[in-house]
């Protein structure tokens, strides 16, 4: 035990303000860095409009406040709240499917009279929390029945969100659940089995896909097949990134971005703006920020003191990793277009708050560790 915990021991005097405020300095400063970087890119993507930056700043303010508040909640209390959050989240999803507001072709919003919000955002946190909570109460690695239960816990909200349809979020939720199960020691045999099963299920998934989703897959395989239709996004974003070269065309000088050739340039395709104006080096900088965040998150996971927090921290960090890999893969034409923003760079509302809340959880896990004497 001493060996196990002693590794995590840190001198009380070193802890200082981080522990009092329940903030993690490496994570916090990297987040601030990447958000500032995002604002710079957003200013350009918005066509030099300061308004869009101001609105994003307000959102970031809310998001950082949210993060700070979440960080104050001890992990033990989070675990106690987990089943409630999960059940309420599922109920909300049900409500969305029955009475949700349609926006942009998909039912995602629930009007609560006070705020309109997307219950799917809550589930991004509730699902990994729920699965982690469930599996941490059992002996690892989980047996088949436990895996089945975990599978149901993941699949139910995921399918409900996919039905809205919001493939991007469904994908994130599925991966966050999967990461918990994987970290909990999912047997390799079973992993292989699930992989085969998923591959076999592809035609079935194809069958249930919406036309526009199918089109996106076709577009990925051959964007030039419909250069003015669905292939346009990908073609233009590849031109933007490719023409950026190593050093980029310079801030506010991206012709693809500034002259409207790049669609969705302040939201899902903002990565192409960054690639065009700041080049490969600018992208390296972004990935440096992201890598620090993921690595720091995984450090927090392995340093955590119980199974629940380890599983949760690991899952949240890796989900973030999926988040930006999927977005950049999509913008560079490696993955089909799924509606996922570039985390902390894209202009957008609810998702940034959820994302920062997840970092709040990481910080809470890191700073609520018990001090154990050696």
């Amino acid at each position: 035990m001493n060996i196990a915990i002693g590794r995590h021991h840190e001198d009380a005097s070193k802890r200082g303000w981080q522990y009092r405020l329940h903030l993690d300095a490496p994570l916090l400063f990297t987040l601030i860095g990447v958000c500032a970087y995002g604002l710079i890119v957003l200013y350009s993507a918005g066509g030099g409009s300061i308004e869009i930056v101001e609105r994003q700043l307000v959102r970031l303010g809310v998001a950082f406040t949210g993060m700070f508040l979440v960080a104050q909640v001890p992990p033990r209390m989070l675990q106690r709240l987990t089943p409630w959050a999960f059940v309420i989240g599922v109920l909300f999803l049900l409500a969305v499917l029955i009475a949700g507001e349609t926006s942009g072709g998909a039912q995602r919003w629930l009007d609560l009279y006070v705020v309109r919000f997307q219950p799917s955002e809550v589930m991004k946190l509730a699902v990994p929390m729920m699965v982690a909570s469930f599996l941490s109460d059992t002996r690892l690695p989980p047996n088949r029945w436990q895996l089945l239960t975990a599978g149901v816990l993941i699949a139910v909200p995921m399918l409900m969100i996919a039905k809205q349809p919001d493939l991007g979020t469904a994908l994130l939720i599925a991966s966050s659940g999967f990461f918990v199960v994987f970290l909990a020691g999912l047997q390799w045999r079973l992993l292989a089995f699930f992989t085969v099963l998923t591959t076999a299920a592809m035609p079935v998934v194809w069958h249930f896909m919406h036309d526009y989703q199918r089109q996106r897959v076709i577009t990925l395989l051959n964007p030039e097949s419909d250069p003015l239709g669905s292939g346009y996004h990908i073609i233009q974003s590849k031109i933007a990134i490719g023409s950026g070269g190593l050093f980029g065309k310079g801030w506010l000088n991206g012709t693809q971005s500034q002259l409207d050739f790049l669609p969705e340039r302040s939201t899902d395709f903002i990565f192409a703006v960054l690639g065009e104006e700041f080049g490969f080096l600018g992208i390296l900088l972004l990935f440096a920020f992201y890598t620090i965040i993921v690595v720091r998150g995984m450090m927090i996971a392995v340093q955590a003191q119980d199974t629940y927090t380890r599983l949760l921290a690991g899952s949240l960090s890796m989900t973030f990793c999926v988040y930006f890999i999927v977005n950049t893969g999509m913008v560079t034409g490696l993955l089909p277009v799924v509606g996922l923003p570039l985390p902390m760079i894209s202009y957008g509302g609810t998702s940034i708050v959820t994302l920062m809340a997840s970092f709040g959880i990481l910080m809470s896990i890191q700073t609520h560790r018990k001090l154990l004497a050696t």
Partner: protein, 616 residues
Amino acid sequence: MPTRLTLKDHLFESRLIMQRAILLVVIGGVLCLILFSRLLYLQVVEHEHYTTLSEDNRVKLQAIPPNRGLIYDRNGILLAENLPSYRLEITPEQIDDMDATLDALSAIIEILPNDRTRFEQLVQRKPRFESIPLLFHLSDEEVARFSVNRHLFPGVDITAGLARHYPQGPLAVHALGYVGRIDEQALKDLDSSNYRGTTYIGKIGVEKTYEALLHGKVGLQQVETTAQGRVLRVLNRMAPESGHNLYLTLDSRVQRAAEAAFGTFSGSAIAIDPENGHVLAFVSLPTYDPNPFVNGIDHATYAALKGDDRQPLFNRALRGQYPPGSTIKPFMGLAGLELGVTNTHSSTYCPGYYTLPGNERKYRDWKRTGHGTVNLDIAITQSCDVYFYDLALSLGIDNIHDYLGHFGFGRATGIDILGELPGLLPSREWKRRRHNQPWFPGETIITGIGQGFFLVTPIQLATAAAALANGGHILQPNIVYAGQAANSSALIPYAPRLLENITINNQSHWDHVINAMINVVHGARGTARAIGADSPYRIAGKTGTAQVFGLKEEEKYVAAELDEKLRDHALFIAFAPAEKPKIAVAVVVEHGGGGGSVAAPIARKILDAYLLGSKP
């Protein structure tokens, strides 16, 4: 659960999660490496390719059409100009429902069905971000009405451009011509790069002949555009080179007087400066207003012009081929004198008809009672046909063909307006070729008075008259006096072009014929004495009457009894002042009747307008 077990599990789980976490980070790292290689491929390996694509996206080449050169008359009076004109243009990309938009627009501004059809065809052909003209030449009122309602029509715009306008309207339209919109056919024959952005091209007349000069050189600009095709800024500009201005030889004062002098008659008149071949007046009547042609004449107006019996679109001056009638007699007389077939003293008896030896057929004189004994002077003055029947027979068709050929009959004068016809100076060779028949002596006889196969165009007749006036210099008639490069005040004159110098064997022969022509106008029995009496300067002239309708031998020609369409053409050639000619004219009045009574007074008005400067 026993504590020991939990602790054991705890260690195991901690190690398990650690392993799995490291595995995940490694997998994440591998994915990032895949992404990096993708980015390196896009941004380094294919960088050039994508840079090109991005430039193609952003930079578009736009043509700036040059301003078309202006056309003035010799005194600097504007004949063709470019006026600002407002066009209504629509950018299809910005229109959701084109039909609804057009319907709503037509409530404000009238849109004719063929405008709409033409527009809809263009919409199919052009890129959606390019604005397409719907209406040309909006009136100020229409512009105002649209401007008030503009907010209702996003994607519909009024643009200002320059449109060709002919301030003098129908004046000299057959010389000046007009421009029209370039059609597909014309585009094939053009240097299409120079015509990028050009709307108009010369269709006929000077506008067509001097198209290359008037048009100028296209300018180009590289513009940066948005994805919607909206121009943001000009990156690079090569200014267009405006077309040359042209100064015509026409004197619009004389032109106007000439056109007015015809009254309601159809016909043609050409006035030439015998010193240099400058065409001072170029009349073909009826005329028409070229302005409706500029932006595409509407069907009804065009059908009316086309269907008009009087054929206003027909360029009589260049393409009207008429028998020269008696106007040929001075040339015949010269031929007789110069070739030694006759002399100024020899005379012929005119009983009012002429017969070939051993042939019953009578060739009538216009005067049934005959002219009695006539010499060349009287024959020209009184226009005796019998004298010239005899002379023609003495000369023979070969001599006639050769000598009159020197005056330019039977071949195009080469005036700088396209579409000229050559007329017809008959010859044995021609007859065999054309009709596969030998030449008959009777045909020589009527050729002698400008009938039969003989056909001339008014421009030929005027050129020949000018040669009589200037002592035998055949000058190519020209309609453009000088050109003027854009941004330059210097006029570049067009040199007169001498086609031929007629050999003069004896100057007195010429003097004799010219003197006879003076007698035509100023002599007591001259056929055009009516215009000579009050003339402040001396005129040398010759009347002519061209038969349209072949009378049977014994029928008497009574003009009044004939349908106007069958009435003879009246002709007159003249130059003045006779001593030092400054102007030569040829007048053809279709179905005018008599040369002396109808054509000569018109010629007199033209001469007056030029020599006296009297306003019509």
